[in-house]
Symmetry: C4
Subunit: 152 residues, 4 copies
């Protein structure tokens, strides 16, 4: 296959999955090092797109994703399979996700990737599990693996 899209979930993939709540609501998400470097290596090779089902923290995720130069789509978990199939198709899709509801997409796509600390349901469905945890370089691991498999 010739990969065309690299679609990534935000929470638990690019972020650690954890978030900080004050009495006003969700204010901060925790992101980590190395990942922006990894994605930069893929620029020009693949279209990189982020999705998120987190409505309350959407503006936080959006700021982080657009600061890196990518786009973020709001997609609920129940619409995830449909949205991805229509927008990208599964045939030339690399997908990275960590959650219970990501398992279906990870199985359907051409190359499914899960961080080492993903839910076991996601890890079972993925073809590649990164050595690093989410927010500790999992996306750089994934990027290096994608380059090794498809662009060397």
């Amino acid at each position: 296959m010739k990969p065309e899209y690299f679609v990534l979930d935000v929470d638990g993939v690019l972020s650690t999955g954890q978030f900080l709540y004050s009495s006003k609501g969700k204010v901060f998400k925790i992101f980590g090092p190395h990942d922006a470097d990894g994605l930069r290596m893929l620029n020009g090779k693949l279209k990189i797109v982020f999705i998120s089902a987190d409505y309350k923290g959407f503006t936080i995720s959006k700021k982080r994703v657009t600061d890196m130069g990518y786009t973020l789509h709001k997609v609920s978990e129940s619409n995830r399979m449909d949205f991805i199939e229509k927008k990208f198709g599964f045939k030339n899709l690399i997908y990275m996700g960590d959650g219970y509801h990501d398992a279906a997409v990870l199985k359907a796509c051409a190359f499914g990737i899960a961080p080492s600390n993903a839910r076991k349901e996601a890890k079972k469905a993925a073809k590649y599990i990164t050595e690093s945890k989410a927010g500790e370089g999992a996306v750089l691991d994934a990027s290096l693996e994608i380059i090794k498999r498809y662009f060397q």
Copy 2:
């Protein structure tokens, strides 16, 4: 038994247990991914209720719990057994707690659950220990186990 209530402590169960202090006091608590998904799977099957003994961080916990659509009761540790017995009874109660003072409730209820990183006193008293830590999916683990045991 036919479980009727799922009562959960907030700190160290839904949150990681850690909190951020500034010179003004307790401002943030750290929550994690997966747990809201887990509780959603139980909607309509059980009444889900949160309790907390944390007075200084109560408005933070309250915001998080009500954002997910549930209610939170302020219950001190010394009143916990009494409050729970009167309000829910122990017979049809599933309880999830992590602290030294949760051990009594975990023992008294029908099905006691502790996160993997709970105090050893709580883990000894629980019937089920989740694979995940608090704030890393312990409540999703608990929710999946409850479905497997009582609703399949």
Copy 3:
């Protein structure tokens, strides 16, 4: 011996040792669950006192310590031995510290305690190492051990 004082360092003992910096400086410290419960068990048995050498984060530590009802002294690392000897003496002192410079006090006092993730220099000098890490219940572990040894 009859312990009279329980003196604790704040950073890396009561807090995880980590702190959050913005472009304005040190704003938050991370504290954890269980520890306030532990100290409450010692109320009336020992005088509990906190010390800290962290000048830039002093108001944060002070707010946390006074919220729990205790006092905090600003003591630089080079004055630590002197200050403690004059103020409390070593004979009836239980001390809990985690740092390179705490080793001397841990050795000199009657009962020295270090969290499991303390510097190895502190752990070598301590008589008791808690099972939990700092900010994850190390102070409750210490409190339970103090009760077991001296107040049962």
Copy 4:
């Protein structure tokens, strides 16, 4: 060799590498205990200099580094080798870095140090790997090792 400079990367060396994003952008970085103590032991022995490629979080890193009394240079990853060679040379340079792009400098300098949780590419290129993780005392470990090797 007679070490003259100790140059350190900030993110993932002095900080844990993680940062907190709000909807306004990068607001906080997480730093840890022990490291300021370690660097203080080297004062007068070596020139200590920090570098960072993080543009969006530069004012945060700058505040932390200048609060400790050191200087911080903004150096992109692609200019890192050049900048360091011109400014310090490699012959009398001790360098501490954690990232994929630090490997070249770690190999070129006289004594390369990586935190225990650095990228494997950095750890392969380093001569010394600290016992502690970044933000948990890696810089104190490095400082003690430097004293042991060169100043005793």
